[in-house]
């Protein structure tokens, strides 16, 4: 592990010392078994090595729980959580080709490291095995570049991209492809400059600060999906950690997205063309930070400088504390200070909500691992019985719509009303209010989004309506 500790990143320097000192200490297993007396005692798990709290001086009080472990136990504990999430939800199978979305923050950095370790292990198994039955899954890394809407200078962005590239290429063998995805790639056909311009206009059309942030988030996902499907990836791995998800739970509640909330916070989300998986769902931000610090995982210095320590993904373009999202994340931080496990409670609470049918890995046709997977899924009680899911999605945020959302709108014909197809939250915070600028806005949206709306309103919606009409008042042109 930590095979990349010698990459030339300037920001990692300050952590090196700590790491080195730790490395110095770990190979001296002081007084096996009975070394309970000295300093802060021993790791509460292995009872041999000194805990982190004694080796690292600068741990915040929030780390109190973690720093009672020694470094190795802490790390394997964290890795265990990651692995459990991956295996029990069948996130990555040998035949997969996974794309990691990295931002340069601690969470995505740890994800990259862990996925890499998993891949190395798989490679080792492959090399050892005789019949080479199970292939090693492939890994790619994608960085969404948002210079067209950010205030950061382009050479700074270039430097950040370069750092990410170096970090990726410094990882050992199974080669990982590195993709830089300009956010304006959501426009398929436009020439680059036009696309930039169009994307800028699109964001400018949104007046609400929170809406703008959220739209950017949705567009980021769209861009990632695009690059993933174009390059033949079968999974998209995000580094959303518990803290981040807790913030999303509160934020979604505040935005009135209670219905669709449970779709966003599961381990697996396959409503997208390329299923999205969140292997770090059970790891908190502090743990990830601590690991990065102790493991000498090099973070992206350029990005971090503009990162402000917020829970959101690093956003180069806007101040994350401006809208509802910023307010929510400072609220969660406050709660965390009062009770460090609060964010886990939040995620656990929201986890009790019924997930949707797409919150599982889609059925694969290889019968090889499926029985084991099935057993596992059963063990974790994941056979979600879809209860009345509408199958209709908001074209902007892709969240499932509630029946009341669209049944309330009188026109279901394929008429222009783009907003009728959206969820109420997007309607409020993203779509412009007056019809003419709404028209303009929908022209600015990527084709894919508009297409999604059309599809929904003509195809799915009518289908659903027919079904309902069949049941309720069969007075129209039905025959069966």
């Amino acid at each position: 592990m930590a095979c990349n500790s010698s990459s030339g990143c300037q920001s990692g320097g300050c952590y090196k010392n700590e790491e080195d000192s730790l490395r110095d200490q770990t190979p001296t297993p002081t007084a096996t078994g009975t070394g309970g007396g000295g300093g802060g005692g021993v790791c509460i798990k292995c009872k041999t090595n000194p805990p982190i709290s004694t080796t690292s001086t600068s741990s915040s009080p929030l780390d109190a729980d973690n720093s009672r472990f020694c470094f190795d136990c802490f790390r394997s504990n964290l890795y265990g959580k990651f692995r459990l999430a991956v295996t029990s939800h069948a996130m990555i199978s040998p035949s997969d080709n996974v794309l990691l979305a990295v931002s340069g923050g601690p969470a995505s950095r740890v994800t990259l490291q862990f996925v890499h370790e998993m891949q190395v292990r798989a490679q080792k198994n492959l090399d050892a095995s005789r019949e080479k039955a199970l292939p090693v899954f492939g890994v790619g890394v994608a960085f969404v570049e948002e210079s067209c809407v950010s205030s950061v200078s382009s050479d700074q962005v270039d430097r950040a991209v370069e750092e990410m590239r170096v970090i990726t290429s410094n990882l050992s063998p199974p080669m990982k492809q590195f993709h830089v995805v300009p956010i304006q790639n959501v426009y398929a056909s436009d020439p680059p400059e036009d696309a930039k311009d169009r994307f800028r206009k699109l964001l400018d059309a949104v007046t609400d600060a929170t809406g703008k942030e959220d739209l950017l988030l949705h567009m980021r996902m769209l861009a990632l999906q695009k690059v993933a499907s174009e390059n033949g990836y079968s999974r998209l791995v995000l580094g959303s950690c518990t803290s981040r998800i807790a913030c999303h739970v509160i934020a979604a509640t505040v935005k009135g997205q209670g219905y669709s909330l449970s779709a966003d916070i599961q381990y697996v989300d396959s409503r997208w063309q390329v299923p999205v998986v969140l292997p770090l769902r059970d790891c908190t931000e502090q743990e990830l930070n601590l690991l990065c610090r102790l493991d000498g995982l090099v973070l992206n210095g350029t990005l971090l400088s503009s990162w402000q320590g917020s829970l959101k993904t690093p956003q180069l373009c806007m101040n994350p504390t401006s809208g509802i999202n910023g307010l929510v994340s400072s609220f969660v931080t406050l709660l965390k200070e009062e009770n460090p496990s609060r964010e886990c409670t939040i995620v656990r609470t929201a986890g009790k909500l019924t997930p949707f049918h797409f919150n599982r890995v889609p059925e694969t046709n290889d019968c090889n691992g499926s029985s084991a997977t099935l057993r596992r899924l059963k063990k974790y009680n994941l056979n979600t019985k879809e209860s009345l899911s509408s199958e209709l999605f908001c074209p902007i945020c892709n969240s499932p719509l509630q029946s009341s959302d669209f049944l309330g709108s009188p026109k279901i014909t394929k008429s222009v009303s783009f907003d009728a197809a959206c969820c109420s939250s997007c309607r409020f915070q993203i779509l412009p209010k007056d019809p003419s600028s709404l028209e303009l806005f929908s022209l600015l949206l990527p084709q894919q989004v508009v297409g999604r709306a059309k599809n929904d309103s003509c195809g799915n919606l009518n289908l659903l309506r027919e079904r309902i009409q069949d049941c309720l008042l069969s007075d129209s042109e039905d025959e069966t």
Binding site: T210, V249, I250, A252, T253, V254, K255, G256, Q257, G258, Y259, L261, S262, G323, I324, L327, F331, L334, L335, E338, N339, R342, T345, I346, R348, T349, A350, K352, L353, T354, P355, F356, S387, Q402, S424, S425, F428
Partner: protein
């Protein structure tokens, strides 16, 4: 402002956008309309009326108890309800019902307000006190158990006290003045402490609103959503003069955070409060979540899902000097403290109910 079409509207600020006549006095958070005071009254009362009519909350001839604390919410509720009853001939018999928790410096003051309301609105008032029902005032309970978990006692006791008061008054329904902020806060708190899937939110609201009706559960479940609407409509206006006299015994840290958070949210986006409630309604809660089966308490006969109702369990703990009974998981409490409590309460034992001989 007698003459309607005065041109110089700039002079005195903007005109009300409903009547276009008088000067606007306030901005409605819901619509961001600027309206005058008179229009505000009208709109406010009319909306409540609509909710009542649309959802058929009341039937003519019913006896309705109004849970009155003396705070702004219940005062407004009592006023509006008596006004609407008169204006639209609901044909309701209205009563004020107050619970006296026995908190010196808090409840005694607010009860004075309720007594004044009784005179002002001409509504008969019934006060039920913890002292009469349980033999304990909150002051005494706090003296015994300290400031931790005391709200559990108060909450459980109040719920039952309202029910008992309702039974004494022989009212058919009980209305309370919970506003949207309260409900939003409840939704948030439930998330923060892990309660969503326990139907807690719905149950809590249902209990608040249809306490008396809860005996016919099918009925009351139908009313849950209506009541939410009722509160929503209220909420905007209640918050006009937002001041809250905090109970002197409720130092709950994260409740304070949540309240502060909601206020910040509202400043940023007024409709956020409604959105939270909407989220709370829309949460995909498993339909298989088991609803507690309804029975009666073996001790006091009050409706309960367990053998004993929660109030009786807590009360038993109090009377036996083991106040931790019934509160979450038991943590190591110092025994000396406990023994002392036991001794000091020996005299007070079993004065509330005749069933103090039951043993655990």
């Amino acid at each position: 402002m007698e003459n309607g079409d005065t041109k110089p509207r700039r002079a005195g600020g903007r005109l009300c956008c409903l009547c276009n006549n008088r000067r606007a006095a306030l901005k409605r958070p819901k619509t961001l309309e600027q309206i005058c005071r008179e229009c505000f009254y009208e709109v406010f009362e009319e909306e409540i009326h609509q909710v009542i009519v649309d959802n058929q909350l009341f039937k003519p001839g019913e006896r309705i108890g109004i849970g009155a604390s003396g705070g702004k919410d219940s005062t407004v509720l009592a006023y509006v309800l008596s006004e609407l009853n008169r204006r639209h001939n609901y044909g309701l018999d209205l009563f004020l019902l107050s619970v006296d928790e026995g908190i010196t410096g808090y409840r005694d003051d607010s009860l004075e307000t309720v007594k004044r309301n009784e005179v002002q609105y001409g509504l008969p008032l019934k006060i039920v006190s913890y002292k009469d029902l349980y033999g304990w005032t909150m002051d005494e309970i706090v003296k015994m158990i300290g400031l931790k978990n005391n709200c559990t006692f108060c909450g459980v006791f109040r719920r039952q006290a309202l029910d008992r008061g309702a039974a004494l008054l022989k009212v058919d329904k009980l209305v309370t003045g919970h506003n949207a902020d309260d409900i939003a806060e409840t939704v948030l708190l439930n998330i923060l402490r892990g309660d969503v899937a326990r139907y807690e939110l719905l149950l809590e609201i249902e209990q608040m609103y249809c306490n008396y009706n809860r005996r016919r559960r099918a009925n009351s479940e139908m009313q849950t959503f209506q009541n939410l609407n009722l509160i929503c409509t209220y909420a905007y206006f209640k918050r006009l003069d937002y001041f809250s006299t905090e109970c002197i015994y409720s130092p709950n840290a994260y409740r304070g955070f949540a309240r502060e958070f909601i206020k910040d949210l509202e400043r940023m986006r007024p409709r956020a409060i409604l959105d939270i409630i909407k989220s709370g309604e829309d949460f995909r809660i498993a339909t298989t979540t088991k609803m507690p089966e309804q029975g009666n308490c073996a001790r006091c006969g009050y409706i309960s899902s367990q053998k004993w109702c929660k109030a009786c369990v807590l009360l038993e703990g109090l009377n036996r000097g083991l106040p931790k009974i019934g509160i979450g998981r038991s943590r190591g409490i110092d025994n000396d403290h406990q023994k002392e409590m036991k001794r000091s309460n020996g005299s007070k034992n079993i004065e509330s109910k005749q069933c103090g001989t039951l043993d655990f």
